[in-house]
C-alpha cells in the first residue's frame, strides 16, 4: 500500500460507492439468517436422534402420540403456507385489501396450529409425560417446542405487519418485510416436515 500511484485511483478502483437500493441485500441476508436457524434446528434434531430412544422406563411415542392430531396440525401449517403465498401474489398486484385478507387467513391457520400444539403439550404434561419424565421427552419438548415458539413469534410478526400494511400501505419497506416473513413462514413449514417425519411418523412405526 506504500506504492506511489501513477494514475488516478479511479482508473483502477471504483471509488464511487455502488448505489444499492434500500434493502437490496435484505433477502440474501435473511436467507443466511434462516440457514443459521436451520443449524440450530439441526442440533435439536441430533439431540432428539441421540436421546429419542431413552425412555427411562417411561412412556414411548406409541403410548403418547395421536397421529390424527399431527395430521390435522400438518394440514393447518401447509394451508397457512399456501395462503401466505396467495397474500404475496396479491401484494405483487398492489392489492392491499386482498393482501390483508390472505394474511389474516394465514394468521388464523397459524393460530390453529399453535392451539392444537398447546393442547397436545398440555395433554402430555397432564398424563405425566412432561419434559422432566425422560431424556426422550426432554428432547421432544425442546425440538417441537422450539418450532412452536418460532410459529408463535412468526404470528406476532404477522400481526405487526398487518398493522403496518393497513397504516402505511404496500410501500417498498413493507413489501420487503412481507417477503422476509414469507421466507420465514415457508421455512418453518420445511422444519415441520422434519419434525412430523422423524419425531412422529418414525416414532409410530
Amino acid at each position: 500500500m506504500s506504492q506511489v500511484h501513477t494514475t488516478a485511483p479511479g482508473d483502477f478502483w471504483e471509488t464511487e460507492p455502488h448505489h444499492h437500493e434500500d434493502g437490496a441485500s435484505t433477502s440474501v441476508g435473511f436467507w443466511i439468517y434462516l440457514m443459521s436457524d436451520c443449524l440450530m434446528f439441526a442440533v435439536l434434531f441430533a439431540c432428539f436422534g441421540v436421546l429419542g430412544g431413552s425412555y427411562a422406563a417411561g412412556p414411548g411415542p406409541q403410548d403418547l402420540f395421536d397421529l390424527n392430531l399431527i395430521a390435522l396440525n400438518t394440514a393447518f401449517l401447509l394451508i397457512s403456507s399456501i395462503t401466505f403465498g396467495f397474500a404475496m401474489l396479491r401484494m405483487m398486484l398492489n392489492d392491499q385489501r386482498g393482501t390483508l385478507i390472505w394474511l389474516f387467513i394465514t394468521l388464523l391457520f397459524g393460530l390453529a396450529f399453535l392451539a392444537v400444539e398447546i393442547y397436545e403439550f398440555h395433554h402430555l404434561i397432564h398424563v405425566g409425560a412432561g419434559p422432566q419424565r425422560s431424556a426422550f421427552l426432554s428432547s421432544f419438548f425442546a425440538l417441537v417446542g422450539t418450532h412452536g415458539l418460532h410459529v408463535a413469534f412468526g404470528s406476532i410478526w404477522l400481526v405487526t405487519l398487518m398493522v403496518q400494511v393497513s397504516q402505511r400501505g404496500l410501500i417498498p419497506a413493507n413489501r420487503r418485510r412481507l417477503m422476509c416473513l414469507s421466507m420465514f413462514w415457508h421455512f418453518l413449514d420445511v422444519i415441520w416436515i422434519g419434525v412430523f417425519t422423524f419425531v412422529y411418523l418414525l416414532g409410530m412405526i
Binding site: 443466511i32 440457514m35 439441526a42 403465498g85 417477503m179 421455512f187 413449514d189 417425519t197 412405526i205
Partner: protein
C-alpha cells in the same frame, strides 16, 4: 462477484433486486401445494395403516417422501434456484446442508458407539437409578 458486473449491469439489475427474487405465480404455488399434500398424505396413510412388514422399509419410504417434500417446498414456496442473488442463496444452502449432514451423522454415529461400548455397570436403568 458483484464487482465484476460494473455500473451498468448493476443498474439493469436494480429492478430485480428490490423484490429480492421472483415470487412465483398462482400456478407454481398450487403445484407446490398439491405435490405437498400428496407427499404428506402418503407417508401418513402408510404409517397409520400399520406400514409394510419390514419396519426398515417403512422408515426408508417415509424419509424418502420427506426429502421429496422438502425439495418441493424449496422450489415452489421458497423459489430456490441456482441463479437467485447471483448464486449466493444456493451457495449458503449447500454449505448449510453439508454442515447439517456432518453434524447429524457425526452425532448419531459417535453417540451410538458410546452407548454400545458403555460398561454394563453404567446401565442406570438396570440399577434402578433415575427411573
Amino acid at each position: 462477484m458483484a464487482q465484476q458486473h460494473g455500473h451498468t449491469a448493476h443498474h439493469d439489475d436494480a429492478h430485480g433486486h428490490d423484490d429480492g427474487h421472483d415470487h412465483g405465480s398462482f400456478k407454481s404455488y398450487m403445484t407446490g401445494f398439491v405435490l405437498s399434500v400428496i407427499l404428506t398424505a402418503i407417508p401418513f396413510a402408510l404409517v397409520m395403516s400399520g406400514g409394510f412388514e419390514s419396519r426398515l422399509w417403512t422408515a426408508l419410504v417415509v424419509v424418502a417422501f420427506a426429502a421429496a417434500q422438502v425439495f418441493v417446498h424449496m422450489v415452489y414456496f421458497l423459489h430456490m434456484n441456482t441463479s437467485s442473488e447471483e448464486g449466493w442463496t444456493m451457495l449458503s444452502l449447500i454449505f448449510t446442508v453439508i454442515v447439517v449432514v456432518i453434524m447429524l451423522a457425526g452425532s448419531l454415529w459417535v453417540m451410538y458407539h458410546l452407548n454400545t461400548n458403555m460398561m454394563p455397570q453404567m446401565n442406570h436403568e438396570a440399577l434402578g437409578i433415575g427411573s
